[in-house]
Amino acid sequence: MSAHLKGIRAIAGDIAEGRISAVDVCRDALDRIERLNPALNAFNLISGDRALERAASIDRLRASGTPLGPLAGVPIAVKDNLCVRGMRTTASSRILDTFVPPYDATTITKLEEAGAVIVGKTNCDEFAMGSSNENSAYGPARNPWAHDRTPGGSSGGSAAAVAAGCVPLALGSDTGGSIRQPASFCGVTGLKPTYGRVSRYGLLAFASSLDQIGPITRNVGDAALALSILSGSDPMDSTAAREAVPDFMAALDGNARGVRVGVPRAFVSEGVDASVLSAFDASLEVLRGTGATLVDIDLPHAKYAIPVYYLVCTAEASSNLARYDGVKYGYRSPEASRGLKAMYEKSRDEGFGPEVKRRIMLGTYVLSAGYYDAFYLKAQQVRTLLKQDYERAFESVDLVVMPTSPTPPFKLGEKTDDPLQMYLADIFTVSVNLVGLPGISVPCGFVDTPRVGGTDRLPIGLQLVGRMFDEATVLRVADAFERDTEWSRQTPAL
């Protein structure tokens, strides 16, 4: 297997056994990024010197006989909304164009302690607001399977970097599908852990009751390994749960016997592309073959998840993004000379892109006097009903299965003029965040689409959703599915 197609465990094993040095692995990754990034625009920053130094220190550790961490020498990429001390972190926003964090996110500390080598920061939608990576101040990342299509969003650069074989692990963040949907669009595996499973300290906040950090990988086993490292309570994040962290790798026994998988048929039948539906139906048969039992379930309020989500997340965003005001960090408009009010208003107007401003405006509106009850409170009440839908479903099933996205990756520019159309593409992912559940997207098929001079092969993803803190079952069934299919082993021609 060529080096860039190897997973985390294979690379770490090669380094630990001395078959290759961490520096050579790092150089390979950097060379590949340098070659592919001009076309993919997956990286906002490539941290070559720092990465090579870290890799050299791993090689020295090994030479001295010091035990190595489980990720020793593994090159990884980090979504550009996660703070890495001393490494420019922009959230793909002009307002943070020059921001250099003075501290590390907890997830970064954990991965580096395990020996991971950060090779760069990945492109994303500005402040993680978007489903196509087109809301980036640095231009969109591109889908490695078809360069004129979106890699998905908001963690589009992370998914593209893994799909293109630049790194075997990239961190993303998922507020309404931002790990799972790009994983689906790029033909890789993306895991959104349970809300509270992973510390959010050092993640530039978008919607604090929904945001969760998770891994994008080439296979389910690697996602399980990454989650074991990322999980756990944190004195710096009061929402990071003290729940025990099981050995997620041990849960992967290669079958799904005894697992009841709920199929919300009514919810899945409307507005879904035929290619997605056919891959979904074929996947249900594969799940049955792994030993799972399929059960019809109903999620009667799931169809309301989009309006609930966009009222809740924008309200939270309008509050979280109030901190960007031209005072403590980030961009300050030259018009600040007109006074304090102009400094706030012009810095924010010039620093934020259109989607971020739209969401701040919407969130401010739904929280404002006279509209709070009708919009924000109402959305929170329907959020309760949605939670009850899932609780009821989980009385008779252990997992819920849905497509990750109603369509294969769409073309860049296709939905940019109509924000509402863009929002509707999140129908299968947002409810999972509103309820806090863990969810994974794994490759489950491809659709051939004609283009000028040839055919594009576009990935399709399958989403598995579990009970709170039951990532073990999610990963176990996803892994069994992966073993019985070839979809995860497909790679784009680059």
Binding site: V100, P102, Y195, G196, S208, S209, P235, S238, T239, A240, A241, R242, E243, Y304, I306, P307, Y310, L311, S318, A322, V327, K328, Y329, G330, Y331, R332, A336, S337, R338, G339, L340, E345, K346, R348, D349, K357, R358, I360, M361, L362, T364, Y365, S368, A374, L377, K378, A379, Q380, Q381, V382, R383, L385, K387, P419, L420, Y423, L434, V435, G436, M468
Partner: protein
């Protein structure tokens, strides 16, 4: 509720949000926000009488002990400031009074 959103509404929200929008932005946002809000009105049809609001899904807050611990040094905190005054340990802003 069903009153259409006006440019005046958008201007009022922009002021609350500390955004000075351009005339073009006001036009575009008025239409787009109206579209999104009218889509969200479907929630009004759901009976939520007596349903509690869910603001977050935390199982429980995990508060740490309230003990003194090292924090970010002032010089580090000021390093990203557009107009920091490290010698005084301050963020500088345009004159506010007089």
């Amino acid at each position: 509720m069903s009153t259409p959103l006006t440019i005046a509404d958008v201007e009022r929200i922009a002021t609350l949000a500390h955004l000075e929008l351009t005339p073009e932005e006001k036009q575009v946002f008025t239409k787009q926000l109206a579209d999104i809000l009218s889509y969200a009105e479907q929630l009004q049809a759901i009976d939520t009488t007596g349903v509690a609001a869910t603001a977050h899904v935390n199982a429980h807050e995990a508060e740490r002990d309230d003990r003194l611990r090292p924090c970010l040094p002032v010089a580090d905190a000021l390093r990203n400031a557009p107009d920091g005054a490290p010698d005084a340990g301050l963020f500088r802003v345009p004159r506010v009074i007089g």
